[in-house]
């Protein structure tokens, strides 16, 4: 069961500004979904390894060879706010 505090905390972790009404709806919906998901807990997985890759592979690496960079102009073209060659962001208040 997710509490109201849990939802507020998770929304903060996820950087989502939700209104009180949205938080409440979210809480209800998440609880409903989690109720279904909780069925997983009953599955016996003792001795089973987790799957992180559906088709197992290992050791894929690349050589330390330079590749062409993309120009600053192209990389900044989508910037919502730029100052010269920099991306600009509003003031940062430590959490």
């Amino acid at each position: 069961m997710i509490s109201r505090e849990d939802v507020v905390h998770v929304a903060r972790l996820a950087r989502l500004a939700l209104t009180d009404a949205e938080l409440e709806t979210m809480r209800e919906q998440l609880n409903a979904i989690l109720a279904h998901i909780d069925a997983l807990k009953a599955v016996d997985t003792r001795g089973i390894e987790p799957t992180s890759h559906a088709v197992p592979q290992f050791n894929v690496m690349r050589d330390d060879e330079p590749r062409p960079c993309v120009s600053a102009e192209e990389m900044l073209a989508n910037a919502p706010d730029r100052a010269g060659e920099f991306f600009r962001v509003p003031r940062i208040i430590e959490e």
């Binding site: 989502l16 998901i37 069925a39 997983l40 089973i48 987790p50 919502p80 706010d81 509003p90």
Partner: protein, 481 residues
């Protein structure tokens, strides 16, 4: 017309890529208001590519079986210089400075990009209703959904607004819309097709794959995009067979497994009947049937709804108004980010981000994500065990038929669309949906074939055998121009 028919016509000089491209563009202009398949139509680019294809055919040097084929890409694939929105407000004006690998490969094969197709926002959904940018309607019944999340490309192919397309399948998002729209849709083996340039939803579950008007077109598209990519560390380094070449081999002696868990109470009886009839067609072709059981199947849905949102919450963390996309002003950074994301993401995406963040958060990882990854192993093992006895698994693609817009407002009701498609995503094995009939009211139904990892050839061959014995693939919806 099918792609293979078009290219044959080009070769014979009966028509040209430019003429065909213009026909498609005109059809889009006339019909897409109704169907809503396209987010962005790239008319100028298409015409320019078509002219280049004209030249090649004129001198008898086409690039291959896709040269001049008019196609669409789900708007989740990056296209350099062409906006790529993922049907989200948060990327509504994003123009990538690079092409996805599949975009490049199709261009190299001479395919002509007509435009970027609609989808559920960030590929999260089963009806395309979660697109923030437009509504896509099922060409067979405009009051109904085309399926999702790749509803755009599926509808485009069904409505003749593209001859083929690419979508992505994470929980069923190629196969389910293929079934709902009466076209062919293939989810290849995980890693068979590069994910570089595919805007990530759930990294371990995303599969790019083709839509075609028939199995041959689908095979041709797969052949052009499959293969190792050094830019994608999860892409498989294995040779790509000539899928089209083996397509017409018969299926005599092919062992088909019919899983108990895919014929469940509550599924639409017309779907069950139609699919069973289709399976009998394959049997008549010489395949053998065997009843199998995949007991972990009911758990696959829950597993998916832990893993996919978890990975999605991580993949979507980058959308924060700093480097690209939407920015909603705020009085400080955190405020700006939080407002941007709340405004830029739709309800379903927000829900999955919250769910995913929760299941990964301190104290919950083992019980949810950790456990889900283990159940995923069980699902994989069951497929492995089944494939030691059978060559393919046959089943319905969906438990239901295309529903009306707005009918499944409850998130969980929507999730249940994916019960038959999710397991193949979990296991990473290839699976196809081919049209196998219609309901009494004319709604398409899909037959699903699931094969061993990297055995797309057998999946395609069986699908083709079924197609040869039927004519569903020749039917097209009537869309008043």
């Amino acid at each position: 017309m099918k792609i293979h028919e078009l290219t044959a016509a080009y070769t014979r000089g009966e028509t040209t890529p430019s003429r065909v491209t213009n026909e498609y563009l005109e059809r889009i202009a006339k019909l897409d208001d109704k169907v809503g398949a396209y987010i962005t139509v790239t008319a100028e680019q298409a015409r320019s590519a078509a002219r280049a294809a004209d030249d090649r055919y004129r001198v008898g040097r086409p690039l291959g079986p896709l040269d001049g084929a008019p196609i669409t890409l789900k708007d989740v694939f990056c296209t350099k210089g062409v906006r790529t929105t993922c049907a989200s407000k948060i990327l509504e004006s994003f123009v990538p400075p690079y092409d996805a690998t599949v975009t490049e490969r199709l261009a190299k094969a001479g395919a002509i990009l007509l435009g970027k197709a609609n989808m559920d926002e960030f590929a999260m959904g089963s009806s395309t209703e979660h697109s923030a940018l437009r509504v896509t309607r099922n060409p067979w019944d405009l009051t109904r959904v085309p399926g999702g999340s790749s509803g755009g490309p599926a509808a485009a192919v069904a409505a003749g607004l593209a001859a083929g397309g690419l979508g992505t399948d994470t929980g069923g998002s190629i196969r389910q819309p293929a079934a709902f729209c009466g076209v062919v849709g293939l989810k290849p083996t995980y890693g068979r097709v590069s994910r570089y340039g595919l805007v990530a939803f759930a990294s371990s579950l995303d599969h790019p794959g083709p839509f075609g008007g028939d199995v041959l077109d689908t095979a041709l598209l797969l052949g052009a995009i499959a293969g190792h990519d050094p830019n994608d560390a999860t892409s498989i380094d294995a040779p790509v067979p000539n899928y089209a070449a083996e397509l017409d081999r018969d299926v005599r002696g092919l062992r088909l497994g019919v899983p108990d868990e895919y014929f469940i109470d509550g599924m639409d009886p017309e779907v069950e009947r139609t699919v069973r009839a289709a399976i009998d067609v394959l049997k008549a072709q010489g395949a053998t049937l065997e009843r199998i059981s995949l007991p972990a199947t009911p758990h696959a849905l829950a597993t998916y709804y832990v893993i996919a949102p978890a990975e999605a919450s991580s993949n979507l963390a980058r959308y924060d108004g700093v480097k690209y996309g939407l920015r909603v002003p705020g009085h400080d950074l955190i405020d700006m980010e939080s407002r941007t994301r709340a405004a830029g993401f739709g309800a379903e995406v927000r829900r999955r981000i919250m769910l995913g963040t929760y299941v990964l958060s301190a104290g919950y990882y083992d019980a949810y994500y950790g456990q889900a990854q283990k159940v995923r192993t069980l699902v994989r093992r069951e497929f492995d065990a089944a494939f030691s006895r059978v060559d393919l698994i046959v089943a319905p693609t969906t438990p239901n038929v295309p529903f009306k817009h707005g009918e499944k407002a409850d998130p969980i009701a929507m999730y249940l669309n994916d019960v038959f498609t999710i397991p193949a995503d979990m296991a990473g094995v290839p699976a196809i949906s081919v049209p196998c009939g219609f309901t009494a009211s004319g709604l398409p139904i899909g037959l699903q074939l699931i094969g061993r990892a990297l055995d797309e050839a057998t999946v395609l061959r069986a699908a083709r055998a079924y197609e040869r014995a039927t004519s569903w693939h020749t039917r097209r919806p009537e869309l008043a121009a």
